[in-house]
């Protein structure tokens, strides 16, 4: 798909990209020009083109996270022109295409920035804090045995739809990156709501919300101030109503005596 043979017009964009060698190294912006880009290149493919060029020049390629490249794994992560995932509604960065940009555009590219997500290198951050939330409270601690018969536990359609909507979260962390407070309330809210909507999760609902909130604080996430930037950038459009549910579950748990004794995983 080179510029000479392709029937598609090519374009060049100027990348102003954050470069940082390691977690404790100072970072800085570097400018690179991505040449020969077509409208069909995904954003990550455009970065691949730039990196191949950098490698040929004997320079370090730009480190960035990616995996499935089909918008479902939640691995890709970068803030493009001030918006996590680039600002196309319900779209991960890997599914953002260069047709959204114009020839000659300058594109700022930065990593997720939040205290809970330390930078590993360039655009790669450590999102292990989200795993800690799951380890703290993102499961049901009872033994479930084999696959149960369908409809053995009746669950209404609205409840199952609600739980599925919450479970749509792919854990990319864009909500935290967009939040002015570096809060993970949308992620935590989606998990808490997903379980609270289902009979299997309701048993431990008070313990779960207590453990989740404690883990959020320990990981260094901030507090929600209801700006709703999180939903606006969420590639799965996870609704902020789940944050209200998280708050509601917290208030319900306040009045339960035994809250705070969630069985740690593996016990």
């Amino acid at each position: 798909m080179s510029a000479q043979t392709s029937e598609h017009k090519t374009m060049s964009v100027k990348l102003i990209v954050w470069r940082q060698k390691g977690p404790n190294e100072p970072g800085r912006f570097e400018t690179h020009v991505a040449k020969g880009i077509t409208e069909h290149h995904s954003f990550l493919e455009m970065l691949d083109v730039v990196n191949e060029d950098l490698i040929k020049q004997g320079k370090d390629p730009i480190a960035f996270d990616h995996d499935c490249r089909e918008g479902i794994c939640g691995t890709c992560s970068a803030v493009v022109n001030g918006v996590p995932h680039g600002g196309q509604k319900r779209t991960t960065l890997c599914q953002l295409h260069m047709r959204k940009f114009k020839d000659g555009d300058a594109i700022y590219l930065e990593p997720w920035r939040a205290r809970a997500f330390p930078i590993i290198r360039d655009l790669v951050v450590n999102r292990g804090a989200l795993d800690k939330l799951i380890q703290a409270a993102g499961y049901v601690s009872c033994h479930t045995g084999g696959v149960p018969d369908a409809n053995a536990i009746p669950i209404s359609k609205p409840d199952s739809d609600y739980a599925m909507d919450a479970a749509e979260c792919i854990g990319c962390g864009a909500c935290v990156a967009a939040c002015p407070n570096g809060a993970a309330m949308l992620f935590a809210g989606a998990k808490v709501a997903q379980f609270a909507a289902l009979p299997q999760g309701q048993v431990e609902a008070p313990e779960r919300v207590a453990a989740m909130i404690q883990a959020m604080q320990e990981c260094g996430f901030g507090n929600c101030t209801n700006h709703y930037e999180c939903q606006a950038v969420c590639p799965k459009d996870v609704d902020v109503k789940f944050i209200a549910r998280l708050n509601r579950e917290f208030h319900k748990a306040l009045f339960k005596a035994k809250a705070g004794t969630f069985t740690p995983i593996g016990e």
């Binding site: 570096g182 207590a210 101030t225 209801n226 700006h227 209200a244 579950e249």
Partner: protein, 221 residues
């Protein structure tokens, strides 16, 4: 589960104390609007309030406690939030956040300063502009006191500016109460948002009307 130390617990404290202050803002506007009935209206109203005796003191202590808790926890949460976000994006574009939402701590602090001024003026009567006296029926002449101060243009402007600040604070704050207390769902969210904007606009118009009408010479003795 700790109300005063868990993140969501402290948010709830801000929301509940905010809710009580919101109810006060409603009551205070209803009380203040007796001024539109002229000196007899607001002086009679003030006399009634004074007649409640110890209830007024209890009410004042309660409102002071709400204010103190609201301010302390809002500042604590804001400091935590600043720490949780290094805020070093070279370019950051907000998609949904509003000016009102982003400036809550500043509008809040401005309102705190206004409340202190307002209390020094019309409750403790220690600002130089305050005119104290009794009316013909030997009641405290609240009308003259308010009228004499608010017809001074800079003071009237301070009041209008404070009400614009209140409008900003509450246009984000009211819908936030419902979200933080977990009373929201996707259907009610736009409704609470609208309620917040309508109420804050009503407060802006209702409260500002007093200094504006006095300055314009429409509300006079």
């Amino acid at each position: 589960m700790r109300l005063f130390s868990d993140s969501i617990g402290r948010k709830a404290v801000v929301a509940v104390t905010g809710l009580f202050m919101l109810l006060f803002v409603v009551t205070h506007l209803l009380g203040n609007s007796t001024i539109f009935a002229g000196p007899d209206g607001i002086n009679a109203y003030a006399e009634k309030l004074r007649g409640l005796g110890p209830f007024v003191l209890v009410f004042r202590i309660f409102m002071a406690a709400m204010l103190v808790l609201h301010v302390i926890f809002a500042i604590l949460l804001t400091l935590e939030n600043r720490a949780a976000n290094p805020g070093k994006y070279a370019v950051k574009k907000m998609l949904k956040a509003t000016f009102a939402g982003e400036t809550m701590i500043w509008t809040g602090l401005l309102l705190l300063a206004f409340i202190v001024y307002h209390l020094l003026q019309f409750t403790l009567h220690i600002t130089p502009d305050v005119v104290l006296g009794n009316d013909a029926k030997n009641r405290v002449d609240v009308f003259t006191m308010v009228f004499s101060s608010l017809r001074i243009t800079p003071i009237a402007l301070v009041y209008v500016a404070a009400m614009v600040t209140l409008f900003l604070h509450l246009s984000h704050g009211i819908q936030s109460i419902f979200q933080t207390l977990g009373l929201n769902n996707e259907k009610t969210m736009p409704q609470f948002g609208m309620l917040g904007k309508l109420l804050s606009a009503l407060f802006l118009v209702g409260y500002s009307a007093i200094p504006v009408l006095i300055l314009a010479g429409i509300l006079a003795k």
